[in-house]
């Protein structure tokens, strides 16, 4: 060619970069201005891109250009065409994005956060399931933001083929997500990927990526044998044959090293075991030594003192989850014979605060030697005591640790732990932890089957242990979902062969059942309905007595104005004498007594049982029962007013009158408990239906008391 521009001629002939630079300098203004005019003044970046593209075309096509080419004309035409291409391309992309956005509006969840929440848990696993080719296509497009041209080049495809590859990959990804219940259109998925894959990429990402990528790139370059081999492979255009050869090499190499490995592996493992551990490599966030220190898990020292020092070092570190794991890892390595001295030493030297870490010890030692662990922990000191269960029981710090050991043991080997407990239930050295350990089993059994729990409770000896075993059953049944099972459980207890256990358990069950008030009716109402549904009169009678004995027990939530009518009717059906006898028995066996019980028990009493039973009731109420201070505060405090209501019913004046005077005095003085003012007492005396002689005693006693109390 003989171009009109000498610089172009020189570039074509000699490949002179200086000539091309002069050419570029001379015509750059023309090309850039043309592109800027076409694209608009606001698109200077795109104009620069167009100029670059045009000069690249010039360099590529220089040898094929006509000899009489006027370079400036050619450049102008190319610049205009390239700029128009940019506009067309952008308008097409804008149209696609609009369509995609519209589709997304139709398909996507309304809330972007909802879409994120739907996709986030699945997107990475779905991506991982795709073929490598699909993963590469998606990564290039969405993570590296490659245009199709570059995608094609990097995938060895034409731009169109790259686009098709991406479409197929997207469709496959969409199908995988759909299988996981995330249904999205391809357009919505495209937009989400476009947005999400680049959204959270602050400058720190770039820095991190660079720092990660550069050494890797350097390693790849040197590892590939430098530029020589790379160039050689590039020259090798027959990739199919190269790949075939590589496959053959891999298979044969794999076979060879596999065969050789079989014979050499013991040597390799021996040498590995014999060689010292390599120095920890450095990791982000600090020097190698510092990082290693943070993740170091010491191996247990040979002496108990050494152990203690390590233990203190670990628990002295910040109480983070990572350090808790370090402690656990350290404990997991502990040889069995070192546990006992460690706990003994730590118990002697640790403060109560430090002893909180004994919980970790307990959980881990339980996996090694639970019996030794329980015994050692039972001997440890430490505050505070812990509450145990619904019943009023406390257990020492050491006892609660021993119970925790048992819990871990039972979760690991329930049969073994359960048998051990049955075998040692009468051994005094375990007495402190037994109720707690029994609760552990009770909770597990009650969660699956209340009847299994009850059958297991029957195998224990003594009310205390049996009560502990059954507590979880009542707790579960008292929850809303378990209410329908109360009657089944009570019926099964009524039919239990071991009547001693059956009665005790049924009493406990009914006590728990009637404590649950629901739908505005008293708690005993459903229990009474269950009683009425029993076919056997004997069963009904037994159930009625148990209901009454439980209703007589005061409890804060119990409404004293309501009467257990069905149970009373059942008792009366057995005849007035029997009813009186049973009522008297209930009172004398009651322990704490509900103050309103006089309303429905007094009418039942008659004959020789009447006065002793009334006197017993009056004394119960007058004294209260300090033993039930925590479980039943209503019954713990003296209640002279309620006691007086019983006392006035006594028929023997020799017993009645002194008691009335005594109770009246208490009522007027013990204002802090249930005492009343003198006016209230006068009011009660005048308005209550009382025998005249009783009223007279009350009035006289009141006057005496008022005279005495005057200053």
């Amino acid at each position: 060619m003989s171009a009109s521009d000498p610089n172009l001629t020189e570039f074509v002939r000699n490949g002179s970069e200086q000539a091309f630079a002069r050419l570029l300098e001379r015509h750059m203004g023309l090309v850039y201005a043309t592109a800027r005019r076409v694209l608009g003044a606001a698109r200077e970046d795109a104009a620069a891109d167009v100029a670059q593209t045009v000069f690249c075309q010039l360099a590529g096509q220089a040898r094929r250009l006509p000899a009489d080419l006027v370079v400036s004309v050619w450049l102008h035409a190319q610049a205009r065409r390239a700029a128009l291409n940019v506009i067309r391309s952008e308008s097409r992309r804008a149209a696609r994005e609009r369509t995609a956005a519209e589709l997304m509006q139709q398909n996507a969840p309304d809330d972007p956060a909802e879409m994120n929440a739907a996709l986030m848990p699945h997107i990475d696993s779905a991506l991982a399931e795709l073929s490598k080719t699909d993963q590469r296509a998606l990564a290039l497009r969405f993570f590296e933001q490659c245009p199709f041209q570059e995608m094609g080049e990097r995938l060895g495809l034409s731009p169109d083929a790259a686009r098709k590859r991406l479409t197929r990959a997207l469709e496959t990804l969409r199908a995988r997500l759909s299988r996981r219940g995330v249904t999205l259109s391809a357009a919505a998925l495209t937009l989400w990927l476009t947005d999400e894959s680049v959204r959270a990429a602050p400058a720190s990402v770039t820095a991190a990526t660079l720092s990660a990528a550069l050494p890797a790139a350097a390693a790849a370059t040197t590892g590939a044998g430098g530029g020589g081999l790379f160039s050689f492979l590039t020259i090798m255009s027959g990739t199919k044959f190269l790949m075939l050869g590589a496959a053959i090499g891999l298979v044969s190499g794999g076979l060879w090293v596999g065969l050789a490995g079989d014979s050499s592996s013991p040597v390799a493992s021996n040498s590995s075991a014999a060689s010292p551990s390599p120095a920890p490599p450095s990791a982000p966030g600090g020097s190698g030594a510092a990082v290693a220190q943070r993740f170091a898990v010491p191996s247990p020292a040979a002496t108990a003192e050494g152990l203690l020092a390590q233990f203190q070092e670990i628990i002295g570190a910040p109480d983070t989850e990572l350090n808790r794991l370090r402690l656990k890892a350290w404990l997991e390595q502990m040889p069995a014979d070192l546990w006992k001295p460690l706990v003994a030493l730590a118990d002697a030297s640790f403060s109560d605060v430090e002893k909180r870490k004994f919980w970790d010890l307990a959980s881990q030692w339980a996996k090694v030697d639970p019996e030794a662990a329980m015994l050692s922990f039972l001997k440890t000191s430490g505050q505070p005591s812990h509450w145990l269960g619904n019943e009023i029981r406390t257990v020492s710090f050491g006892g609660s640790l021993a119970i925790n050991v048992f819990r871990v043991w039972y979760e690991d080997t329930p049969d073994k732990a359960g048998d051990w407990l049955l075998k040692h239930q009468n051994d005094p050295q375990w007495a402190e932890m037994l109720p707690g350990a029994i609760r552990v089993i009770g909770e597990k059994l009650a969660a699956s089957s209340p009847t299994d729990n009850l059958a297991w409770a029957a195998r224990l000896e003594g009310d205390e242990l049996r009560t502990a075993a059954m507590e979880a059953v009542w707790s579960n049944l008292s929850r809303e979902e378990g209410k329908s099972d109360w009657s089944n459980v009570c019926t099964s207890l009524l039919k239990a062969e071991d009547r001693e256990f059956g009665n005790m358990a049924l009493r406990k069950a009914l006590r728990a059942w009637i404590s649950v008030e629901a739908n505005g009716e008293p708690g005993f109402a459903p229990a009474e309905r269950w009683m009425a549904s029993l076919s056997s009169p004997r069963d009904r009678r037994e159930a009625a007595e148990l209901i009454l004995s439980n209703v007589m027990q005061p409890r804060p939530q119990f409404n004293s104005l309501q009467q257990p009518d069905k149970a009373l009717a059942e008792l009366l059906a057995s005849g007035p004498e029997t009813a009186s006898r049973e009522a008297a028995r209930l009172i004398t066996e009651a322990g704490p007594l509900q103050s309103g019980a006089s309303d429905w028990l007094l009418p039942l009493l008659q004959g020789p049982e009447r006065d002793p039973a009334i006197l017993h009731a009056a004394r119960l109420l007058a004294d209260g029962d300090e033993r039930v201070r925590f479980t039943n505060p209503l019954a713990a405090n003296p209640n002279p007013a309620a006691a007086l209501a019983w006392a006035v019913e006594l028929s023997d004046p020799a017993v009645r009158d002194p008691l009335i005077r005594d109770l009246l005095g208490k009522q007027l003085t013990e204002r802090s408990t249930a005492g009343q003012s003198a006016d209230a007492v006068v009011d009660w005396i005048e308005k209550t239906s009382l025998a005249p002689e009783v009223r007279a005693v009350l009035r006289t006693s009141l006057k005496e008391f008022q005279a005495l109390s005057k200053p």
Partner: protein, 312 residues
């Protein structure tokens, strides 16, 4: 060269490359080249004198472990996993956090704590912000880990972040942060704690006693702390009221003479310094106001006769 010969050469070259790759893979798998892969536990021997170290991997995991796999991991494997989490890219970390946030408990909070505490080593503020904007009820559990790491390195930074958080209107975690931050600073950076408690955001903080023993373990630490206190200590000026309070006769038993963290730090430092050298302590106290000296001597006397039940 004939075409068939060229193809044969290409096949042979490919075979050599493949064979070399297979050998290299074998070498890596046999452990002669450290792969640094997470999850491979180092052998632990009880006879070794030095502590066996878990080797923190430079290679971040490419995906969050499956829940079942995480459940089966030993504590040591989890420590290894935590070591590798330090190299996560922000995008991976975000994905991991969101994935494990929907795991069931207790695995979810455990994994979140590991991820967030590793993040806290480089950007504790971002980790705390993420926790409070994504985790609701579990945020305070995670904050405890983050704040401990933060306090150990930059107590003032934690205090500044907490102040900003506490000044946010209707911030639902304000009370939790107000309770936890001084407690954590108390252990790792008492001076930052004292400064924090002087901020306006801590008006609602109530306290029944401080314990700076963690920061006063060594003689050097005690002396360094002692040098920081002049100028910060201030007790009530009413001598009679001060005496009443010291004698435990104040109407309100919670109305301790310590007005804030500085005073409490002063008292405990005085006790610790007295334990090291009564003479030095006397000279040091002389620089403080008279009422402050009175309180310090009172505390020193109390410490000399500990309660019989105390094992602290």
């Amino acid at each position: 060269m004939k075409k068939s010969s060229l193809q044969l050469i290409r096949v042979l070259i490919g075979a050599v490359i493949g064979f070399t790759a297979a050998l290299a893979a074998r070498k890596i798998m046999s452990g002669n080249i450290s792969s640094g892969a997470p999850g491979r536990e180092p052998a632990l021997t009880f006879s070794s004198v030095g502590p066996p170290l878990v080797h923190p991997s430079e290679t971040a995991p490419k995906a969050l472990p499956a829940l079942e796999d995480f459940r089966k991991m030993t504590a040591l494997a989890k420590v290894n996993l935590a070591a590798s989490l330090g190299s996560l890219t922000p995008i991976h970390r975000e994905v991991f956090l969101k994935e494990c946030a929907v795991w069931p408990e207790p695995e979810s909070t455990q994994m979140l704590q590991l991820l967030l505490s590793r993040w806290a080593e480089t950007d504790p503020g971002a980790a705390a912000d993420w926790a409070f904007s994504h985790l609701e009820g579990r945020a305070l559990d995670c904050f405890k880990d983050i704040a401990q790491i933060w306090a150990a390195r930059d107590g003032q930074g934690l205090a500044a972040w907490a102040r900003t958080a506490l000044n946010k209107p209707d911030f639902p975690f304000a009370q939790g942060i107000l309770v936890r931050t001084p407690r954590i600073l108390e252990r790792f950076n008492p001076v930052a704690m004292a400064e924090f408690l002087e901020m306006d955001c801590c008006q609602g903080f109530s306290n029944n006693g401080f314990n700076f023993s963690n920061s006063l373990r060594t003689p050097e630490a005690v002396k360094a702390m002692a040098s920081k206190l002049p100028g910060h200590v201030e007790y009530i000026s009413d001598r009679e009221e001060l005496n009443r309070q010291l004698a435990g006769k104040s109407p309100n038993p919670r109305n301790r003479p310590s007005k804030n963290g500085w005073n409490a730090l002063f008292e405990q430092t005085a006790v610790a310094l007295h334990g090291l050298s009564p003479e030095d302590c006397g000279a040091w106290l002389a620089a403080f106001p008279e009422n402050a000296q009175l309180v310090a001597r009172h505390e020193i006397a109390k410490a000399a006769a500990p309660a019989p039940q105390s094992r602290q």
